[in-house]
Symmetry: C3
Subunit: 365 residues, 3 copies
């Protein structure tokens, strides 16, 4: 089922497999909130095994005509139950965040994803037992214009998962995650999010303010019954600002996805995430592929203390057609309703309500 | 004849082929117009089939140490006669523009190419009959620093081609193209061109002025008789400026290329373009490769209304040696003569006359 | 022993091999000189043969989220003794510079490397006899934001190597190198170096001053006896400043590396460099890999004329573990002691003394 070539060479155990992704989007929004097209993601990379117990991934993103780092790490299997990954990778704190954008039921992750840490250089441990797994990582700050000769701060993240039910028909997943970030003294902190549409302005935005540290706690759950997947997350981030009052920001979502043609997503227990749809009746075998419908309701509140970063809801309706492996065509209808977005005043106003439609053509291998 | 590996994997129908290009240039100009060297293009990418009726291309350019998007699209064959491509690709408006820089008889395209639209994200249809083909596309604006929350404008382009004569010896090609661009309100428009030498200053330059929309109409023709190829194009672009008088800009060229060693370029009817030279007697079989000579005369007039963007001629003499497939060594001798370049005053003057020599070493696969 | 796939295609003689590298670093320094993590290098590229006598390399670096050019050239074998490379490549002036960062006994090259020219677009000749080799190149200036319409200056470099002893047990290498750079009139010249730790500030720094030309002369020697390698270099750079007095800068180092597990580095005579360690007893065959210890003492004096760019010593102790081919884990302990760093006053002071520790995880193929 692996499309791109993977071969063993004379060098025992070493393998190399090309990776790639391209997503082309078109967007229309009501009320003059914008319209346009973009290459949402274009990525090239490689992955493979170095040894029986060592593998690697290296993937670069070029969207927005900038260089972006995706997974760039080496992973060592210390025992059957434990691996360690060293390099640029994701701090594991959320189901939504761990789900690959290629496999996600929606075109963008939920508002709640703004509270995730994303990728940076660090060391991550993954351990698992019969019905649980634990991911723990210690990281530096995300790569940017490096500022040599400074202390760049550090970040610690942990996520505990339990899977009380896991059989061919059903999966019940529950998780608890937390992180702590000590910021570089000279770094301003800013939390912002577009309303689940990458081509709209960031209607949620705390603005930039100097802060010393950040804490997060979150819970998540998911239940899959054959071709239906329900999931929900809720999290709170607390920021110790330097000159403003400390503030707590909250976000969460619930979503349901139904694969009309019957396919079931796989579940990876170690990192706790669901895989993509592989059409059982794709174009290559004369079929019409798979079809999926999904609905989501998200909420975020960035208004606390001295910060008026916006609060409100986003509702999304998604339709995905998977003509065959590697291909996907999607449409998302998104309604947003945000108030008290005073800090950054995106689009020159503090209250925002409207609808938008996003179309995407995707290839990934 | 395809050099880089293409393989079918377990995944039925999917194939992956590496693409690459590197061009290293050296340049010398008279009259203190400059000298230097550069990596003109360095590209890495992939292409392949996803299915019998679906294929993809993804190629990134890194020249000038910046990320540039080349072809990044998925193409679906709707019927024997019709395909649709979705993603980042060229608006088909000119023979010169459609000819790959790797295959072009000159190191740079003609002045006239400044009137072409280039690539952006969009949907393009290609249809063909016995002796004609039609390319039509709807696009967003070229990718740049995205400006979320705005209407980014759109562009429509169409090109009709007829091939009244097409046999083993002769090809007669005629084309008619037009486009319409509605600009984003906040975008200034600028039309500029170097004198067919990428390392010289842009001697043609309208400067940046706010505009609302742009129209273009062009005609083209080509006649190939065995190893000789003649081609010519002429086009006019009209710009509706916001605060300046509207202006029309004109450009055209005629060129002749003679493959001394006898090889004939292939012709692709769908998009209407000529392919490259494949030496029939390359180094790999003990031969000396192929040799081509080409001459071109180009004209451009960017002086109209309130705009003094320069007008004048460029004459080029080109010599190409193709030692074997994938390799090319070229020299271009270029004479330029431009007047009334008042808008931007490149090199601190408004009239420019001089000669330049460009050398290139090229590998493409 | 070549890990990544190399295959001949239908196109006779053409081969394509993927290249890649990833280095993830963590750093800690005393006295508030900083701490942090970074992706030191992440590279993707290709190399292969075009013909029996022609090959190519194209590699792009993405570290610091910027596009960087590494080797991007085509190499033609003119005779058994002579090759010419055209494109973006290294001006051969130093053993330290010619040693690949993947293969180097330390994480960073010595201070002395600041005097090397690095890569730019040019033509390089390599000739060798029984016991000598000569590398000579003519280059343009390094690629940067191009400044079209200017004379970009040029650079000439040459390096003569003799190998009086070369057998299975011993290699004695001696070299003499020099270069001349004519600078573009509008370019300021700046020489700077971190203290052999990429995440520290540039404690050596002449600041930017307009200059007309630069000259360099250097000597180098290395002696390898089985698994022990000693090497030393010394060089002087002279800068003709426009408005400051001319100045001469000096740097050199001595180093010793001992592969505890007994492996011997290979020696490439043409360009004069030592290769990496291939563990004879790697993880893949049930062993523990190779272990290397290295010490280095470097000196640099950038204080002369009107320039106070710092002078002082850096001492490094390195430990490298090569678990198997392609993999490497390293630790470097670095002591620096720099005075008279008045030009740029890194960290807000002119005298600097401290210690730092750098850890790296590396994969290269």
């Amino acid at each position: 089922s692996n499309p791109s070539p993977k071969f063993s060479s004379k060098d025992k155990g070493f393998s190399f497999k090309s990776r790639g992704k391209l997503q082309a989007d078109a967007m229309f929004a009501s009320e003059d909130y914008g319209s346009g097209s973009e290459i949402r993601r274009v990525r090239l990379g490689a992955q493979g095994d170095i040894d029986e117990s060592i593998d690697y991934v290296a993937e670069i993103d070029f969207s927005n005509k900038k260089v972006g780092f995706e997974d760039i790490f080496i992973r060592y299997r210390l025992s059957n139950a434990t691996t360690v990954r060293i390099g640029h990778h994701e701090a594991s704190v959320s189901l939504d965040d761990e789900t690959s954008d290629s496999n996600h039921s929606f075109l963008e992750r939920s508002l709640h994803n703004a509270l995730s840490l994303g990728r940076s250089v660090g060391v991550g441990f993954e351990t698992q037992g019969e019905w649980w797994s634990l991911n723990t990582g210690l990281f530096g700050k995300p790569e940017a214009d490096n500022n040599p000769g400074h202390n760049e701060g550090w970040r610690f993240a942990s996520r505990l998962l339990v899977t009380p039910v896991k059989n061919e028909q059903q999966t019940l997943h529950m998780g608890f995650a937390g992180y702590y970030v000590e910021l570089d003294d000279e770094t301003d902190y800013r939390l912002s999010s577009q309303p689940e549409n990458h081509q709209l302005a960031a209607l949620f935005d705390t603005g930039s303010h100097s802060a010393s540290d950040i804490r997060y706690a979150g819970i998540e759950t998911a239940y899959q019954y054959n071709n239906v997947l329900l999931q929900a997350e809720l999290g709170q981030q607390t920021v110790d600002y330097m000159s403003l009052s400390d503030a707590s920001f909250v976000s969460g979502y619930v979503q349901a996805a139904w694969v009309i043609t019957g396919e079931q997503r796989s579940y990876q227990r170690g990192r706790g995430s669901f895989g993509g749809i592989k059409p059982s009746n794709g174009l290559e075998s004369g079929g019409l592929g798979a079809l999926e419908m999904a609905v989501r309701s998200s909420y975020m509140d960035l208004v606390d203390g001295d910060v008026y970063g916006g609060k409100g809801h986003v509702y999304s309706l998604g339709l995905n057609w998977y003509p065959r492996n590697h291909l996907r065509v999607s449409a998302n209808l998104i309604h947003f309703d945000v108030t008290e977005s005073l800090e950054a005043q995106p689009q020159g106003a503090s209250n925002h309500r409207g609808n938008s439609l996003v179309l995407r053509s995707q290839l990934s291998w």
